[in-house]
Symmetry: C2
Subunit: 336 residues, 2 copies
DNA sequence: CTGTTAGCGCTTTCAC
DNA sequence: GTGAAAGCGCTAACAG
């Protein structure tokens, strides 16, 4: 397999225990031996055997990540891969490995978590999405296993989380639409059970009432998922409610669906906005105004939270709010 | 952490060794005890500690995957995430965990492999891409560490690999273009050092000469990478070579670049084809004819090869050729 | 068929 | 400051 601690010890002329101490930067070890041991490790290309370390009671320095597999959202939306990359960057610097798996549904997710936890393979978990009454969250809390999550938890106990200010993001979007002169603005969101949907809906409501505009409940559509099809369904439904001016959606896929319907029905001048800044938005006509949620930064922060909490006894923070960026493109502007 | 083998043994009234034997389906163990042990495991919710198992000389049942981080190809092209999912599906069934990391460049890739190997954390590696004189391949071969790869290796010793028939795929594309009546067809490829580029170029050559068409070397462009910008550069260059009719590219991103240039220069009737079937191709005008390489199946097969070789002494196969699918859309048809 | 025992590589008391 | 020794949970001879 590889060089063991004993071989390093032999070359450096010390005991295995000493090598282990050098490895962990133990304070009471002479500079001289430190140097000697380090050069021995260097020479032999020593890499600690993680299994042994983990067995001996140390953290395996590995994080588990569960990816959803439902829908093709995963592939059309670079959110997850970006988040994974963000996680990877921080994990790398801190010497953590990353384990992943795709799951079909919530039950399977919990199943994976169970395996992760009891296998002794991982020190902590990162959850990339959050539902209402998320079984993963409750499972991890019950097991008292360290984790951090993207998305704000229902009741923040000691939970580590990172999220956008979804309320504010949508508030900003709707105000942007209002600034551009649109008044009768519909809301096309994903499942009502998702916290993001709720927060964004709230932002929508506040933005309108903040400008003294009455909210028409019939202009609020919440789909079964975040797909283009649901977007189309929502768009069609709202177009049936009389003269529309704009659609604030909670996802680019939904927005694409709405745009498609508008095109077909001859309303291609209506404003539409999305969320997530997927590449395709750039190639629509008109180009899609959207919100960049900074998935990589969300991932990085989530990694930061869990790793810091694993490493230090009194971690400095338990959450981060990651800024969103409104990407103003053509689709939100007033067009003839 | 969790239930240990001893606790299971105690409950079942046997020794730890027996439990271990049941775990591994050892033949000479009585049905009765098997049942008893299994129910004990069930009751306690026993999950083997992988670190201990791995330390005791068993395979850690974990695979390492190195993802490229260069360029944003990773995010625009769902190839990798699809391949990862394919891998995950097979790995899951066979009880394998998956480790991943993103790397900046070849050097870092090798660095990761080194860590993977010597950490004792992984039993095998899957490489998702292959360059010419790939340092990862040579590194793994030298270390005699089990791996499988997507892409055909330079010299297939015992290497496990899976690939499309890239020659045939491009051969098919070019014949399709010829069938549609195009004659003066340019080639816009990625870096010449990649095997895929070579194979596809060969397919291009063969298809033309097979129809008795002279190959103009000046119509062959090979870019620095697979980006849209390089595609545009290639497109511009070829448009300077006189009247073109079609462009066979080796990647959708390249194709998008070519289409953009054609549009700008007033040649939007020229045919263009891509590779990889990225979602954006559907939303181009005209919609992009492309080749689906079945990334998920490539991944699944790669996992199959490495896991099978790890599990059995005489694995049945050392490679798979995964079929490609020509997706005929508007961009390859003759337009006024 | 099943139990006993040694040992995988590392960390961690406990001595010195 | 450093070494010796025990032990983490599991597997694999070796006995019986």
């Amino acid at each position: 397999m590889g060089i063991t601690i004993k071989e390093v010890a032999a070359l450096a002329g010390v005991s295995a225990a000493t090598v282990s101490r050098v490895l962990h930067n133990n304070s009471r070890i002479s500079e001289k031996t430190k140097v000697r041991v380090r050069s021995a490790m260097e020479q032999l290309g020593y890499v600690p055997n993680i299994a042994a370390r983990s067995l001996a009671g140390k953290s395996p320095r590995t994080l588990g990540i569960v990816l959803p597999n439902n829908s093709d959202e995963l592939f059309k939306n670079p959110f997850f891969i970006n988040a994974m990359r963000g996680i990877s960057i921080y994990a790398q610097v801190h010497g953590y490995f990353l384990l992943y798996s795709f799951s079909q549904d919530e039950e399977e997710e919990v199943h994976f978590l169970d395996k992760y936890i009891h296998s002794g393979w991982v020190a902590g978990i990162i959850l990339l999405t959050t539902r209402e009454n998320d079984r993963c969250v409750s499972f991890l809390e019950k097991a008292r296993f360290p984790f951090s999550m993207i998305g704000r938890p229902e009741n923040l106990g000691n939970t580590l989380w990172v999220d956008n200010d979804n309320f504010h993001a949508m508030y900003q979007v709707v105000n942007h639409l209002l600034d551009k002169g649109h008044r009768r603005i519909g809301f096309v969101g994903g499942p009502a059970s998702f916290r993001v949907t709720k927060d964004r809906l709230l932002g929508y409501r506040q933005a309108l009432s903040g400008r003294g505009i009455d909210i028409e409940e019939s202009l609020i559509f919440q789909g079964k998922d975040f797909s283009e099809e649901e977007g189309a369904r929502g768009g069609r439904e709202l177009l049936g409610k009389g003269r529309m001016e704009a659609f604030a959606t909670t996802d680019d896929q939904l927005a694409f669906g709405v745009m498609e319907v508008c095109r077909k029905e001859g309303f291609d001048h209506l404003a539409v906005t999305g969320f997530n800044n997927t590449p395709r938005g750039l190639y629509q006509t008109p180009t899609l105004t959207t919100v960049d949620v900074q998935a990589d930064l969300l991932g990085r922060r989530a990694a930061e939270l869990i790793i810091d909490s694993l490493e230090s006894e009194d971690p400095r923070r338990d959450h981060y709010i990651v800024e969103t960026k409104l990407i103003e493109r053509q689709s939100s502007y007033r067009r003839p």
